[in-house]
Symmetry: C2
Subunit: 485 residues, 2 copies
Amino acid sequence: MHLVMIGGSDAGISAALRAKELRADVDATVIVADAYPNFSICGIPYYVAGEVGPWTSLAHRTAGDLQAAGMRLRLDTRARRVDVRDRKVLVTTADGSEELVSYDRLVLGTGALPLRPAISGLDQLGHAHGVHVVHSMDDTFALMRTLERDKPASALIVGAGYIGLEMAEALTSRGLAVVQMEQRPEVLPTVDAELGSRVHGELASHGVEVLTGTTARRISLAAAGSPGRLSVEATTTAGGTLTRHVDVVLVVVGVRPDTTLAAQAGAALGPGHAIAVDRQMRTGLPGIYAAGDCVVTYHRLLGETYLPLGTTAHKQGRVAGENALGGDRKFAGSLGTQVVKIFDQAVARTGLRDHEAAKAGYDPFTISAQADDHKAYYPGSHRIAMRVTGDRVTGRLLGMQLYGHRQAEVAKRIDIAATAIHHHMTVAGLSELDLSYTPPLGSPWDAVQLAAQAWSMQAALTLAPELGAGVVERGRERLERARNN
Amino acid sequence: MHLVMIGGSDAGISAALRAKELRADVDATVIVADAYPNFSICGIPYYVAGEVGPWTSLAHRTAGDLQAAGMRLRLDTRARRVDVRDRKVLVTTADGSEELVSYDRLVLGTGALPLRPAISGLDQLGHAHGVHVVHSMDDTFALMRTLERDKPASALIVGAGYIGLEMAEALTSRGLAVVQMEQRPEVLPTVDAELGSRVHGELASHGVEVLTGTTARRISLAAAGSPGRLSVEATTTAGGTLTRHVDVVLVVVGVRPDTTLAAQAGAALGPGHAIAVDRQMRTGLPGIYAAGDCVVTYHRLLGETYLPLGTTAHKQGRVAGENALGGDRKFAGSLGTQVVKIFDQAVARTGLRDHEAAKAGYDPFTISAQADDHKAYYPGSHRIAMRVTGDRVTGRLLGMQLYGHRQAEVAKRIDIAATAIHHHMTVAGLSELDLSYTPPLGSPWDAVQLAAQAWSMQAALTLAPELGAGVVERGRERLERARNN
């Protein structure tokens, strides 16, 4: 049995590791387009910041570790075409020669490619001018060369998603003056604006100039004597225009699945133009599985969607590796659980936000709540701002979003909510969970339980608005009647 | 409707709050034996340490808050007898007079009393000699008077459970030399000795002299010229004897339910001689509910047991308060989820340990594992030591124990496990949870998922010991066959 993985990031490596774990005698080859298998791409901002080094420490496992686990690595080797009938992959090797690699089972883990927005001048400018995308290790090395060679004083980041925000922090901590430009009304559009605005404030308090509702239109070399070597012109939703002069421009506006190889081989595409797979990670092509950022994602509340995340790639890769050996595992599904640290704060989400839930056919009701991470009398407590979305009819917990200090355990608190949603728990049910408590690390009712109680009270009042606060019994009864119907 | 609560701690106050939340017009009276309603007893060690102050900040809510929520407080009022037939409580008020308080529904939240071990001399010595128990606010004030008046240089703590350990830290941070004496083989006997020994090491590294397997036998006033004013003689399990001279002795060896009032009223007692209640918190006596440290606890894996915890008291009180108004809530059950901080480390547990699971009829298998709280390349990562207990036949997760740095999010990680156990999840299922990840706050597979994967591998090997590591497929198949049977 020869198992071939195309792609040396989370999905491909996870598939190979799982296969070797289950059957040491399987012949597993991973085709890696660059020289950096199993790198923690999510760690790049911290390497750029100078908090992590050397760059080799970003490897989840070294090439040596991977080989010791029994897999063969083909580095700097590009898969060009898959011959589905003969079960062969045409590759171009490091020295430029072509070669056919045979397989019995194939796992596609080709990942995603950075989106390039329609900004005039973007295609004409490159690393030499200080214009960068950040997606791969090679991109990272190019950016580091610019930072070290040119000693830029300022940078503009197009995009304020996870990587955009992390890069804003990274470059600020390197001493650059940073402008963050986001075309949507608030930064971090993957969370509600109430929490996004807190992130906005955190960025601003660390000196980042945040321009929301602002779309970059043109990048050009600045005139001599300008304060930066690049000029970025933008338009605002209010109808104005503005220009910033900076030394470096980073474009980080999201990704799209890399499906060229799969599409050419005849694989069907699904939501987000990602490779269509079933929950066993089968593409429908004989012997070909796919996993990670290149495939559609089964979401436990939405069904099929496109939602690329490293955690998901690990899980899907593991399923693909097991099933390629004849197993019958199913990917349990994503809830879109995510967390990001921005300077001293962290923001996390799981499940659906109000508009996402409404679009998916739920009857969502969403509230804001706040609670302390631990008893306020004990030193060092932090307030957590929360958004809770539940279904008004069934009472089911649909989503949660948290914002709080990086030491306020918001990452693992969102995981409590993710575990609850995984099990179709009601919002009210959260209060029944037996969670841990000691004054330095929690409260008798955890913050997420207090938020759940606030949701129940307010949901009851929306069903019986004539009742004032404190007199919600009839509201609750109506809510429960609605649930039972 | 007149609702009376006896007890002003977690259970009684939670019952009153819930009742007022549901029906503002209910007449709710809380009979409080001392002057300190709704105090966070778990916070006492931090007040003693000097980290929290003034003592009034230990109140979850002030008496004013509680009255504003609509309840009547009868402070310094002792309930002496319940007349079940006439629905009256005989109380002694602050001025020593007797009074009959009528009720329609009664909630007993009489709590627990500190155990007094059989130590010769204990009953003859008291606060004036520097001998203390720590359970109530009055106990705390007495201890503080001793600490401030006598400026003791040393203390011996009998017991190394949660409060004993927290008091060791508190007194150490006040500058006292502390001896911790525990009769069992390791400190913190509520977790496995492998983790207890780490706690032992943490205590020792902060200068605490830890004496395990050592039973205090006699406390006496030391002879003039001794290094402390008290002499504690003890025997060791090895058969030796030892003596320590200290200025203060604290005895904190656990609690027993305070059931005098309930038993006198005719309530049945259950496990741990606690008041027998059903999951609706009904005692069986007409109109009388009970909750908190005085009642038996429904445990989701064990059924009825005695397991007093503040978190449980809050939940049971809420159920009792709702049902006393005619509701039909059921207490969802405890998993014994607990966490304690000891100096810079935290230890948490949920569910069952190996021997507890075996005793309860499961077929437990327990492993040790370690993983980082977040990616090791990002600064400040900490190793978490874990113990995972699962059922070998069903694969069900039965328990987890974690030890790690206080900032390693072990409290909320144990809550992920608690949420999983609440839903009867298998150990393998943990790996399917969509948990959050960013390098400063986690890993693509969370620590608890890596532990779960280690458990699955090792459990498979126990069923197929002839297979080496890396070749566990047949073991896994056997495991799954066993599960299906």
